[in-house]
Amino acid sequence: MSDKKNTVFLILQDNEDARPIIEAVEQDNPDANIQYQPGMVRMEAAGRLLVNRVTVEENLGREWDVQELHLNLISLGGNIDEDEDKFEISWR
């Protein structure tokens, strides 16, 4: 296999609840490619994509439970690692 990292992705609904999360993804994953499609936002990155609780909370101005992500989640591709502080998608 080449060194090229395979694409992981996360798709959220395009709505007000998801916006602080999308912004957090942009902040924490500067190389992520963010695509706005009808009704949804697709975020892609090479190898790894991170949703960081602290960043979302800063954008949102309140405490945020990482599992709230489920409410606006549409799809994802990659292995998941989730705990109190982050939601991470990766291909090895």
């Binding site: 992705f9 949804m40 599992q67 489920h70 799809s75 591709g77 292995n79 109190e84």
Partner: protein, 505 residues
Amino acid sequence: MPAKKLNLRKRYELLTRGMGWETTYQKMDDVFPYDSFEGIKITDWDKWEDPFRLTMDSYWKFQAEKEKKLYAVIDSFAQNNGQTNLACASYLSAIKLFITGVTPLEYGAHRGFAHLGRHFRGDGARIACQMQAIDELRHAQTQVHTISHYNKHFSGLHDPFHQFDRVWYLSVPKSFIEDAMSSGPFEFITSISFAFEYVLTNLLFVPFMSGAAYNGDMATVTFGFSAQSDESRHMTLGLEIIKFMLEQHEDNLPIIQRWMDKHFWRAYRLLGLVAAMQDYMLTNSPMSWKEAWEVYFVENGGALFEDLSRYGLKMPKYHELATAEADHISHQIWSVFCSLGNATGFHTFLPTEEKMAWLSEKYPDTFDKYYRPRFEYWAEQKKAGTFEYQKGLPQLCQVCQIPMVFTEVQTDPMQISYRVTEHGGDKYHFCSDGCKDIFEHEPEKYVQAWLPVHQIYQGNCGGPTLPEVLDWYKFKPEDSGDYIGSKDYHRWQEWKGADKKVKQA
């Protein structure tokens, strides 16, 4: 001071470890009679882990919130007559196919997972399946609730569950889910959670639902994306079960590879219906079937299988053919529906000039060469009043049950792809090597297939004539035929004409 809340990992562990026990009054094999005959070897169920680590309290909390949001949108859609904001009433053919073809699949998946939620020996796996069983029931219910609004205004949406068990093209999804449901639990979960949900379901719920948004159907987008939020969890479960089985024992690999090959092909054939929905039935398509296939299968699916290659799992057999067929299947399937449009529970319509220009652009190698002439020929015939629906009934593939319309895309795209095999002195026909392989591995299963065309000829479907069969399907006369001139069409024209008055008032 209240006790410190346990962390996610700990809470999940308490829920899923030690809730079950080694039975003593009855043998474990009698309590869990189904999880060993398939040959999958599990040495340690405790290695099972749900990466989301969802506990029941969080599950109920988040699902309740999803439901509240969903029903709020549906209520406002109904109160504001959202149906009048669709791109065109012809778009609803896609929704009619969805409620009759997909919603009963959700219900079938509910039954399947409820069964697994009882019969897996590991408590973690049982809990994950129980949650999924509830999810699938929720999906079936939200779809029925959403679409019932359209049923007040449009034809063809009145009897989805009655039709699922009878109608010729609905036997395609029915045979798919029943094939999985009549397998053992490990094959069922490989089929539904992995081959269907992880590898292929994005093609159904993501670009198609985005397409619904693009066509003003906010009600469908809402149930679609709400279902898909559960689907992400199911996909993750699907990947987890595959990795879990592969890590448990090396003997599991060849069994899983064969299931993967089989259910990839089964699910892919089923999605041919979605290809037609996406390219032809959506008034405006934001993304073609081929583009969606490139992104969600070739690229994302490729990454997935590359990750799984460390276990020795290979890309599913015939995936190259599926990619080559991406240039063809939507056109072929929509042609079938148009040529048998007097026997469909939704309206058919030929692609407009604008749509054909879009198809030429999206399918530069195939549309103008192979399919545009067919649609233009039919359009001329319709104009001249000489168009006739097909009189005979089509030959069906014994496995996927789709009429034999697929062609030899890698060698001669104008040649129908036929395969045949003999079993017990009878001949059986197939659309592809993929379907033929599936039959030959378990012929005793597939000789029992309930093929709608055979059943009509055997006199089991209401009678020998088309009106009798349609009556047995509970199709009403206004459900079928061309969109132009239909009851839906006239109602739409009335609304659009009346629209101005409403706004002035």
